[in-house]
């Protein structure tokens, strides 16, 4: 039953004694809590995405033919599941470090060789599937294509984490501070940066 609940959850309260009514009312809210907390440890493995053939080196983006496949029913539903699941977002944070995303975009997403991810500018779109596409396909100014190099689930988790860097996720799903040197406010404390509508990929910076 938990896996089916998709209601937005803001503040689940515990059931109180002799207050069945309150319990009934808080049930849907509380159920959102179980979506947030589920640890989907045994997801079915996904088939590797078609990878560019060059061994050993990340394919320089854009690799437009990398399909952004969605194995769940549709990308929105799948995205919500990832973005409402604290464990998935925290795994995304793990991959962010593992796959050297933090090397280019800095530990807190403030940017370095790559553009910042914690601000309101999105060069290639801020919606979750767009971010997934940017990760898997790569982008022309240095962002390599990760298709075939990370699993699809990892890409979705990464994208959800990336969106949490600018406060796009609910604060009870986004991560807390890292056990590391501080790199800005923890994701859950970040104000949502409203994506700027006019942001478009620049031709030459």
């Amino acid at each position: 039953m938990c896996s089916r609940c998709r209601e937005r959850c803001h503040r689940p309260r515990p059931p109180r004694p002799a207050l069945g009514l309150a319990l009934a009312l808080s049930l849907p809210l509380a159920l959102a809590g179980c979506e947030r907390e589920a640890r989907r440890l045994e997801l079915p493995p996904s088939a590797p995405l078609a990878a560019p053939s060059k061994a050993g080196v990340l394919y320089p983006g854009p690799y437009a033919s990398a399909p952004v496949r969605v194995t769940a029913a549709d990308p929105v539903v799948r995205g919500q599941r990832v973005e409402e699941n604290a464990y998935a977002v925290s795994q995304g944070k793990r991959w962010f470090r593992w796959f050297n995303c933090s090397g280019c975009h800095a530990g807190g997403g403030g940017g370095d060789m790559g553009p910042p991810l914690s601000d309101d500018r999105w060069l290639y779109g801020h919606e979750l599937p767009q971010v997934v596409a940017s990760i898997l396909q790569g982008r022309p100014n240095g962002m390599p294509a990760f298709a075939g190099r990370i699993s699809e689930e990892q890409a979705w988790q990464l994208a959800a984490y990336v969106r949490s860097l600018s406060g796009q996720l609910r604060s009870d799903v986004a991560g807390g501070r890292s056990d590391a040197m501080g790199s800005g406010e923890p994701e859950q404390r970040r104000e949502r940066e409203v994506p700027r509508p006019d942001a478009a990929p620049p031709t030459v910076r």
């Binding site: 179980c34 640890r39 689930e153």
Partner: protein, 366 residues
């Protein structure tokens, strides 16, 4: 390599509904608890290979001696107390609800009881002091393990595997391995312990007591393994989902065998010659594998997962939890979560011929 490998169809763990509620789990417990469930057919490690009572080196032996002493002393004390208790019960008069309470004795004072209690207390204090001395002496003996000519190994614990770097004064002779330590029999080893993420604890009971690996701190542990054999160690501090699946194999072997092993570990992987293995190597390097694993001699140099340069030489996969063999390797690559739910390695639905090639390549990494 004609045989085609299929990933194990049977999952070692029943996959319960997720997430479970308490009620559902309780129900499942009643229904399933008594049903026989399939376990992967792992060749047994052997009873006693992770056992503080079967020692393979002086550190564990010292502790075992202390254990025997404490067991004897405590056994005697326990027996004495129980005897006193039994005698008291045996000899005491019986009473009922209507037995008038005895108030006179307590009011007068009971010198005999007082003497006995005082004597027993005094004896306990003396015995305890003896135990403290024995404990401190053992502790000091443990700390005095001679470390000249010690082998230095840097051990880093990750969720949920062990990374080992064998140090050498000559940096080019250092090498890395994972989840399987080989130690020369009779030569002391100084382990430098780090933790990458959360607190873990290094424990090979046959060889020594445990030591925590704490992020932000460095600890050392000295031990010596005298008796050749295969020992099993396991993380002893709860470290998350796969705490139970974070084992470590320690192979203690004679000096010559160790030296040969170490020399082999120092060599980079040979480029594969067999076309199938070559294809597997391409898959490895162009796919997800190289994003986390390293194979010396190739472009794969990631450090998030065990170094696979000599994977085929190890007895087990997945931090000592899965026996190493073609079928298991294939099954593990296809769906690691079936073996270790929560593992950070993703599953792969490779085409069968790709999986074959990949496994063929990994099998060449001796």
């Amino acid at each position: 390599m004609a045989t085609r490998i299929r990933p194990l169809q049977r999952r070692p763990h029943a996959r319960g509904p997720e997430p479970r509620t308490f009620a559902a789990a309780a129900l499942a417990a009643l229904v399933l608890g008594l049903l026989p469930l399939a376990a992967v057919a792992a060749p047994p490690f052997g009873a006693g290979s992770q056992d503080a009572l079967r020692t393979g080196g002086p550190q564990a032996a010292l502790i075992l001696d202390l254990w025997r002493l404490l067991l004897a002393v405590c056994g005697v004390v326990f027996a004495a107390v129980m005897a006193a208790f039994g005698v008291a019960l045996w000899r005491a008069r019986r009473g009922t609800r209507d037995t008038p309470p005895e108030l006179q004795g307590p009011l007068r004072g009971e010198p005999r009881s007082a003497r006995l209690v005082a004597a027993a207390t005094g004896a306990s204090a003396v015995g305890l002091c003896g135990l403290i001395v024995a404990s401190v002496l053992t502790d000091r003996a443990l700390a005095r393990l001679p470390l000249s000519n010690a082998l230095h190994v840097e051990l880093t614990a990750h969720q949920w595997w062990w990374q080992a770097r064998y140090d050498d004064a000559d940096p080019s002779r250092t090498f890395e391995t994972a989840n399987e330590l080989h130690l020369p029999a009779g030569r002391p080893v100084l382990l430098t312990l780090h933790a990458d993420d959360v607190i873990h604890s290094f424990w090979v009971p046959n060889l020594s007591g445990k030591k925590d690996l704490i992020p932000g701190r460095t600890a050392t542990l000295a031990l010596r393994a005298d008796v050749p054999g295969r020992y099993r160690g396991q993380c002893a501090e709860f470290c998350g989902l796969q705490h139970a699946g974070m084992a470590l194999e320690v192979v203690v072997e004679p000096d010559a065998a160790y030296a040969a092993w170490a020399e082999r570990q120092r060599r980079p992987a040979e480029p594969p010659t067999d076309p199938q293995a070559q294809r597997g190597q391409r898959l490895f390097l162009a796919g997800t594998c190289a994003m986390c694993h390293a194979i010396q001699g190739t472009d794969a140099a990631a450090r998030r997962a065990p170094d696979l340069t000599h994977l085929a030489g190890r007895a087990r996969l997945a931090a000592g939890t899965v026996p190493n063999g073609r079928a298991q390797l294939a099954a593990w690559i296809a769906d690691p979560a079936a073996f270790k739910p929560g593992t950070n390695m993703p599953g792969h639905r490779y085409a069968p011929e790709d999986l074959d090639a990949l496994v063929a390549y990994l099998e060449t990494l001796r």
